[in-house]
Subunit: 147 residues, 2 copies
């Protein structure tokens, strides 16, 4: 509709990002479904591995998500024995995450699914646009860092 803002009209940035996230997530989820993981779960497992033994808060910060969201997302992964939480010996408030052998195996087995999804998107976008998209998103995120 009308746009009384002082600047020229610009469509809702949030709607664009969310729509794109939905579409892209659907592609990854479809490829990962055969391995029993969502892209969210695959990402969590990968982050735990690459981060060592992060706390809930550290992980949430890395993944730009609310700690409560991460807490709940971990539940199905714990139930399947992919992830364990243990209180930190120095600070008993902190709970540190760790991958189990089963979690590491699930991550490795699902990697072809992730690759297939990533390739599908890269093929559809083209290499140049793929790189440009990632760069643009990284730049956006860094400029929207928490105040």
């Amino acid at each position: 509709m009308d746009d009384p803002a002082p600047q020229p009209a610009l469509p809702c940035i949030c709607a664009r990002v969310r729509r794109t996230a939905r579409r892209v997530s659907q592609i990854y989820d479809r490829h990962l479904a055969a391995f029993g993981l969502t892209i969210s779960q695959f990402g969590i497992l990968g982050q735990i591995r690459s981060a060592g033994s992060p706390s809930i808060g550290e992980m949430a910060g890395r993944m730009v998500m609310d700690p409560t969201t991460l807490t709940r997302s971990l539940r199905p992964l714990q139930q399947r024995g992919y992830v364990v939480l243990a209180a930190d010996s120095q600070d008993r408030r902190t709970r540190r995450l760790a991958l189990t052998e089963a979690g590491l195996a699930a991550l490795r087995q699902a990697r072809p699914g992730w690759s297939a999804a990533q390739d599908e998107v890269r093929l559809a976008l083209g290499e140049e646009a793929s790189v440009a998209l990632v760069a643009r998103l990284d730049d956006t995120l860094s400029r929207l860092s928490p105040p």
Copy 2:
């Protein structure tokens, strides 16, 4: 970790898009909370208005979301009396959406919240980057259109 793919390493596109969507959504939700709407709800109301009396399926297509997601997202808006669904007179399978007066009023009242969020993001990114981001996302979405 290692990247055995034939192409050069590229981080997970999906993770980037999702993180950005979370961060951006948080900003919009924070500004809209005072008006009792989420950015999702604000977007739905806006789409209904600009689309006339769309069906569930048409709306879902526009918003790049699953029809079932839209069905459930409409529930709280119906309960508050912002939206009504009525069977199409031509095809009784189809249910058409319409804004009520209350829904239109809520949308209008919440617009300053949306503008504040949009301005916050535009200011943080800068005009050039904002326009480039939207263009990049639009391009991405169009290339990932359903097969």
